[in-house]
């Protein structure tokens, strides 16, 4: 099923460059970005923040029964990465046969996530690769 161009376009900043935000009132960082800081509420002062993508594996799971979009990629690994700059971020982890483990250092990479059939859009997104 083809998705709308608008939904891809709106999320380019987050998908390509891991742009979240930061509350300058308390320093808490968020990805994806939040409208208000969950700690500061009305005192929130949110500003955009581009994360560098470096961090470590907080948790992961190997997917053997994929959704339609990833049927040719199975088995593949998804996980939660604890970024050095704060937030926990969910993403694909590229496992080139050497295995993934908790605490493993990773960095972000620019990759294809999926495509809309033979003629639709290509969805680019950050993934995590071993550092």
């Amino acid at each position: 099923m083809e998705r709308s161009s608008a939904s891809l376009w709106r999320k380019i900043n987050s998908r390509y460059n891991m742009v979240g935000n930061e509350c300058t009132n308390c320093g808490k960082t968020y990805f994806p970005p939040r409208l208000i800081c969950k700690d500061c509420g009305r005192k929130s002062k949110m500003q955009s923040k581009k994360f560098n993508g470096a961090g470590e594996v907080y948790s992961y799971s190997k997917i053997h029964v994929p959704t339609e979009a990833f049927k040719d990629s199975a088995p593949y690994t998804v996980g939660i990465i604890k970024l050095d700059e704060g937030p926990l971020v969910e993403g694909h982890i590229i496992d080139d046969g050497k295995g993934v483990n908790i605490g493993m250092r990773v960095k972000s990479a620019f990759r294809r996530m999926d495509v809309d059939g033979e003629e639709g859009l290509i969805y680019y997104h950050f993934k995590f690769v071993p550092e």
């Binding site: 620019f110 990759r111 294809r112 996530m113 993934k127």
Partner: protein, 349 residues
């Protein structure tokens, strides 16, 4: 005079050996290895394409240069494997490096030399103060028809160069450039065709050797320099043998080309080939040294450059990932079945 402000390169981790391909087709790997001077080639993962390779190289180039990507006024991406027929790779790259939107961008195609054509365009644009910085990229996930001789060499990789006029920021000055171009049908891919076709041995003498030799001789004539005036030389490298032969023909010695001769271990990255070779040479070069680069694109043409390395290369070197280190770490060898799968050559319907 314009020059190189920064550069970066990217080659996928996956490799397939000549032995593995030859095993499938019942050919003698040793004769192919010695005939083409190639050991293995890079293969893109199924989630890598010319845009992801270009973006990764571009990010490294921005980091290496130390500039704010928002000051880049033009981005050109040379490739013969752009992911879209209509929709630019260059705009994907510009967003991936957060270059902002006040820029011009376009995709280029001239077989293996579109990246150096972009470099020439940026020389004019920066010298004329039309833009402060420009980025040119050569990146490909090149195609080789299963069973064709090209299958042993057609690989994936790319390099990005940022061009600017400010002398103190330059790691190398682009002294001058010349080109030699003709309508030569040595290699082509029609619109919609999955794989390129070529003229076999015709790709050699009338294609590669004629254009590289003529362009380099034109550069010699324009600059008054000869082969021994250059510390290094980089020639397009469709295999590991042609650049050695053309270098010898033009009066260069092996020690001048060895740093930039990358194809024997990663294959022919097409639009990336001569630019990755230049990046590998710059990794090694010292201020004051001179580099000759002559690219080649089938169809056909060659762009030749005389380059002089500047002082800023030493300070910026700590921010660069050396080509030889990048291509030798994290390698993952795949078999022919996985090669076909990752290249999308297995049809399920």
């Amino acid at each position: 005079m314009s020059g190189i402000i920064g550069y970066g390169s990217y080659v996928p981790n996956h490799r397939i050996t000549v032995e593995e391909i030859a095993r499938v087709w019942g050919e003698d790997p040793e004769s192919i290895k010695s005939g083409l001077n190639i050991k293995e080639k890079s293969v893109p993962s199924s989630d890598e394409d010319a845009a992801t390779i270009a973006a990764e190289a571009a990010r490294k180039a921005v980091y290496h240069s130390g500039i704010d990507a928002k000051e880049i006024g033009a981005i050109y991406v040379g490739s013969e494997s752009h992911p879209y027929a209509v929709k630019p790779t260059a705009t994907i790259v510009s967003e991936a490096i957060s270059a902002g939107h006040n820029l011009t961008a376009s995709d280029l195609e001239f077989a293996c030399k579109a990246g150096t054509a972009g470099m020439q365009m940026l020389m004019g644009m920066t010298d004329s103060n039309m833009i402060k910085y420009g980025m040119t990229i050569g990146a490909d996930t090149s195609q080789g028809r299963p069973g064709d001789a090209l299958e042993y060499t057609a690989s994936a990789g790319g390099a990005a160069f940022i061009i600017g006029k400010e002398k103190k920021e330059q790691i190398a000055e682009l002294i001058t450039t010349v080109s030699y171009t003709s309508d030569t049908p040595d290699f082509w891919r029609r619109e919609g065709a999955g794989f390129p076709s070529h003229g076999g041995r015709f790709t050699g003498e009338p294609g590669y050797f004629r254009h590289i030799t003529k362009a380099t001789e034109l550069l010699f004539e324009k600059t008054g320099m000869k082969a021994n005036d250059f510390d290094y030389a980089v020639f397009h490298q469709p295999n590991g043998k042609f650049p050695i032969l053309v270098a010898k023909k033009l009066g260069f010695e092996m020690k001048q080309i060895e740093h930039g001769l990358i194809t024997p271990v990663i294959g022919n990255t097409y639009s990336g080939a001569s630019l990755i070779g230049l990046a590998a040479t710059l990794d090694h070069a010292k201020p004051g040294e001179k580099i000759l680069v002559t690219s080649f694109g089938s169809g056909a043409g060659s762009d030749s450059f005389a380059i002089e390395v500047r002082e800023a290369i030493e300070e910026k070197r700590k921010r660069s990932e050396k080509v030889h280190e990048m291509i030798s770490k994290n390698k993952v060898y795949i078999d022919y079945s996985n090669y076909l799968k990752s290249r999308g050559s297995i049809k399920k319907k």
